[in-house]
Symmetry: C2
Subunit: 159 residues, 2 copies
């Protein structure tokens, strides 16, 4: 494996580790447990599942990896705060969407070469990317990995 491949694989491993841990924490929770708030008055676990699913799902288009799977989640779990709108699906369906998005994303990530990781993401213009080449796919992957870790820190408080 080349130095470049080792570097991008290390980043991909971090993504798998963080999403895998969160998945393991969420999978056994009952519908009732998913209604718990991470702290008084804060987001429910179920909202975090929806939020992370929607944010990850947006990576398909942001990274040019194909059509996203669940655009209907954005309004409820990104645009609006928790409890502003009713949950559109059962907790089981939402957990299924979470697993589906992550496994399809990870499979797409596995196909990228180190050079492709350094290509610009679709939310930055050619001109801006020329000025700041750190606005690449890999930066998005790391940012989303940190975002997932951020909410994992909250989710574990309900234990």
């Amino acid at each position: 494996m080349t130095t470049e491949e080792q570097l991008s694989n290390t980043a991909l491993n971090a993504w798998k580790l963080v999403t895998g841990r969160l998945d393991a924490a969420l999978a056994p929770l009952s519908d009732e447990q998913l209604q718990k708030q991470v702290a008084p008055g804060k987001n429910r676990l179920l909202y975090l599942v929806g939020h992370l699913t929607a944010v990850h799902d947006r990576m398909f288009s942001l990274l040019g990896l194909g059509e996203r799977l669940h655009p209907e989640l954005d309004e409820i779990y990104i645009t609006n705060p928790d409890r502003a709108l009713p949950d559109p699906t059962s907790a089981a369906d939402l957990k299924r969407a979470w697993s589906e998005v992550n496994s399809k994303l990870t499979a797409a990530f596995e196909t990228l070469t180190p050079q492709q990781w350094l290509e610009k993401h679709t939310a930055v213009s050619d001109e801006d990317f020329a000025k700041d080449p750190t606005r690449n796919r890999l930066a998005v992957l790391m940012s989303r990995t940190n975002h997932a870790a951020f909410h994992t820190g909250q989710a574990v408080l309900t234990k």
Copy 2:
């Protein structure tokens, strides 16, 4: 900049972003505010400052970057849970240690080449590293970045 350098720089940027955001959130807090718990019965913000300072400080030796600065923090902020032992210093001193550790670490990180990022860390044997070359410095950096993001997610709940 080579592909390799761009890849390792992207990881270093993620570290700077996460620690910088946490720093900006903690810096303005009063001693009294740092006594707040992130959720009822959970860690105080001050404990998180001590915990993250100690965990980051251990990276000097773990990554072979020189002597660590504050080994005295481990017993209080890593080995023991919050409130088991009295805080050994003022909140101001602890915040100073946090800033000092992060700025010295980041300066040391800036000197590493992509190849050096892929070298083994000091807690893995030559034999184990030969079997699993992902146990490198870069993996530690990303793991600590995610760990800092994890606790940032908790710290923001006190707002």
